[in-house]
């Protein structure tokens, strides 16, 4: 079986599945059970500076978005960093790392944006024997109002500055955790690199209101009739996270910067996708908060089986494999022509493809006698909407038209050669081909 062991910024773990800094990693009891279940590493829930512990709300901390059968699709939280005494956490980290030397133990940190605060806490963490630190520049709620968390992550100069302080004051690898609540994720990543970061991890949660109570008119979760924005995570944010990870992975300015992928990782497949888009490992939170620690067993078996099937011997073989295929729109091949094809044997006649195409797209599906849904090639632009709304897997597929075939929609022959927007005659900026 494929070797799932990982080394990420010099930190070894038996597999690429780490628990993200979050409630599941807030104390020794949880982390021990996570390691027993098979997790490769943890990022300990964020520690703050010494002093009176953080105070959390005493009402609900989580809001949710559900799918069918109350499947949790997204979770939102307004919990702050650890509310336990610093000394307690440090002591527990030390004990756990001593007992699980083969697992990764990284400590998340968030202290005020002054160098002395970082100088004060770094040696304390170093003393625990932890493998590294993660700078929490991502948390979008509560702490950001106090000038920490995403308030730092939204200002590249601050990221660079604090990262540099940390690198100068500790021997431990420094991972910078980024907030997605910015316009272009590449800038915080570049700043991290400029500050000397060993890696970035992303995404932290997305600022969100999950729902509004239509009886009380309070955003949820509601604390005595009021709500505040929280951080959204879980399967719903995965597409956002994948894009941000991939944007950094292919950015020449942050080339080679290791990435820990976070955001909606729920199954081995999600993890594999993050790895292929450039993540060196993944961090998981919502999935374990939904199903418990045991799911790592499925992740391990699933990733291993897939790697075996594909002939990938190690995680490093997988990391970044899809990055070269992630490009800009302007480089997509405009000579690649496909048409929707409906497999009549698989079709169950629901007509969702027709409704979608007829009402909202290109009127390219006909209802023929016997409730037979068929594609009108003259109209089909191959938008894929019918594929996406069809409830039957593989019933509708996109079939490539071979070069030389006439596309009935355009009346043009399909061209074999690659051709993109940069050279397209309709592009005002096209340079004349030689």
């Amino acid at each position: 079986m494929a070797n799932l062991a990982c080394e990420f910024v010099g930190i070894r773990s038996p597999n690429p599945f780490w628990l993200a800094s979050a409630p599941p990693t807030d104390k020794e009891y949880n982390v021990r059970r996570a390691f027993e279940a098979g997790w490769g590493g943890v990022v300990w829930k964020t520690l703050g500076e010494e002093g009176p512990p953080i105070v959390n709300v005493n009402g609900p901390r989580y809001g949710a978005v559900w799918g069918a059968d109350r499947r949790l699709l997204g979770l939102n939280n307004i919990e702050l960093i650890t509310d336990r005494p610093l000394e307690t956490n440090l002591q527990e980290i030390k004990t756990v790392k001593r007992d699980y030397p083969d697992r990764a133990v990284v400590v998340s940190l968030m202290v005020p944006c002054v160098e002395d605060a970082w100088k004060a806490i770094l040696p304390l963490v170093e003393d625990t024997g932890a493998d590294g630190i993660e700078l929490n520049f991502g948390c979008p709620h509560g702490m950001s109002e106090r000038g920490m968390g995403s308030a730092v992550g939204q200002v590249p100069d601050y990221i660079e500055m604090v990262t540099r302080w940390c690198k100068q004051n500790t021997r431990m690898p420094v991972i910078v955790k980024l907030t997605p609540n910015i316009t272009d994720i590449r800038y915080p990543a570049r700043a991290s690199k400029a500050g000397g970061a060993d890696a970035v991890s992303l995404i932290n949660t997305v600022s969100s209101i999950t729902s509004v109570n239509l009886d009380t008119y309070s955003p949820e979760p509601s604390i005595d009739g009021k709500g505040t924005h929280g951080g959204f995570c879980g399967p719903a944010v995965k597409p956002i996270a994948l894009n941000m990870v991939a944007q950094i992975a292919r950015d020449p300015e942050s080339e080679g910067l290791p990435i820990s992928g976070i955001g909606g990782v729920t199954t081995w497949r999600d993890a594999a996708e993050f790895l292929t888009l450039g993540a060196g490992n993944v961090q998981v939170c919502t999935a374990v908060m939904t199903y418990g620690f045991k799911i790592v067993q499925e992740m391990i078996s699933g990733l291993g089986d897939w790697m075996d099937e594909k002939g990938h011997a190690s995680v490093d073989d997988v990391v970044g494999r899809a990055v070269p295929n992630f490009t800009d729109w302007q480089y997509l091949n405009l000579n690649y022509v496909t048409k929707a094809r409906i497999d009549q044997d698989l079709c169950i006649g629901c007509g969702r493809c027709f409704a979608a195409c007829e009402d909202t797209s290109h009127q390219a599906i006909a209802i023929n006698p016997g409730r037979k849904f068929e594609v009108i090639d003259e109209e089909c632009v191959a938008c894929n909407l019918c594929v996406n709304v069809c409830p039957v897997e593989d019933c509708i597929t996109m079939e490539e038209l071979a070069p030389g075939v006439v596309d009935p929609r355009t009346g043009q022959e399909v061209v074999a050669d690659y051709g993109n927007w940069t050279t397209h005659p309709n592009n005002p900026g096209t340079c004349a081909a030689e």
Partner: protein, 460 residues
Amino acid sequence: MANNPFTPGIAAGRLPSGALDRNFADLHPPFDRHEALVAADRCYFCHDAPCVTACPTTIDIPLFIRQIATGTPEAAARTIFDQNILGGMCARACPTETLCEEACVREVAEGRPVEIGRLQRFATDTMMARDGHPYARADQTGKRIAVVGAGPAGLACAHRLAMHGHEVVVFDSRQRPGGLNEYGIASYKTVDEFAQAEVEWLLGIGGIKVAQDTRLSDGLDLEALIGDHDAVFLGIGLAGVNALRIEGADLQGVDDAVAFIANLRQAEDLSSLAIGRNVVVVGGGMTAIDAAVQSRLLGAENVAIVYRRGRDRMTASRYEQDLAASKGVRIVTHARPVRVIGDGTVQEVEFEYTRDGASGLEDAGETFRLAADQVFKAIGQTLEGAPDALQIEGGKIKVDESGRTSIPGVWAGGDCASGGDDLTVTAVAEGRDAAEDIHNAILAGKENVNETPRPGNEPG
């Protein structure tokens, strides 16, 4: 308790009351809210949905299921009731397996349709549990319409007419309104006096008077009705039953299945109902199934349905046949009764095996006997008590697509009318459509002839 399933002859109390209660409990228990949400989520919201086409009342099924899925079961109920005011009973009694659920694309895809019937029940039950009636009447028209028969067709017709602002009198021959909803549907499909509760709820619209224990040709005269009213609707059902024209058919213990089912529905105490140890039901329709299953549920030891043709020709659905089999009913096909044997009371029934020959059903030349303390005839119902002046077609009152009979001013619908398939839901559709035609006809020439009030909660 003295009696048990092995007690010879016809006896009451074969099962302890606890067992009877369990046997006659809801066949399809209602969904709770979460179950309904999960079931609703399976609906694909098909375009021009096949289930709607398959529904005789054309309920917008995908819409009502989406309304359930989005937490508005009362809006779902309005979608249902707009088309079918007896949607509550239809949710329980419809053979959905041969209607909407058979057409469901998930039945096509995976052999497991969206549970449309139970979802409909969830929606309608939710609304009917609320106080009040959801529809308001249009301004009063001053028109009076007589409806004969308080079954599904008559009630649906009366409600729609009342909604349009007309005054309606419903004449009914039985002690209680509801027709076959009250007297003809198996008990385990409509528990807790639902049929009466539904009638009461339906009458909540106002403008409908019900005269029980009044029948045509016995104190009621069609000509007089026509004279006293602006229109007449006949929903008199099929009050007669086909006779078993064989030797011994008059022996004691040979009964009509419909009467047995009606008695069962009216029984206050199921343990007081006598049933044979050995019961034979002759027929192949829903009535046969209902009689046979309920005989078993009452504690009969051996119950057989005997049908003269093959299973595929039975009008009872495959689902109903399997239900009967699951309750321990033996289904014997290709056999016709030739003789009932007994000495004053029935003891045996002799059957001749049949086969499908070139010119139809023919005897196979072999007979057998089944022990029987009780024989239920379920070989079809017939029109009875229809006024002579009406034109009859195929044993039923001849009507056109709008339910108009051969006599001007007289409409008919439900089982008594030609066409249709003798289902509750079909009767509702026919009653409703006749009401619309009556409404348009009697207001013809007036300005507001096309002004159809929108069903809803707004005050009349």
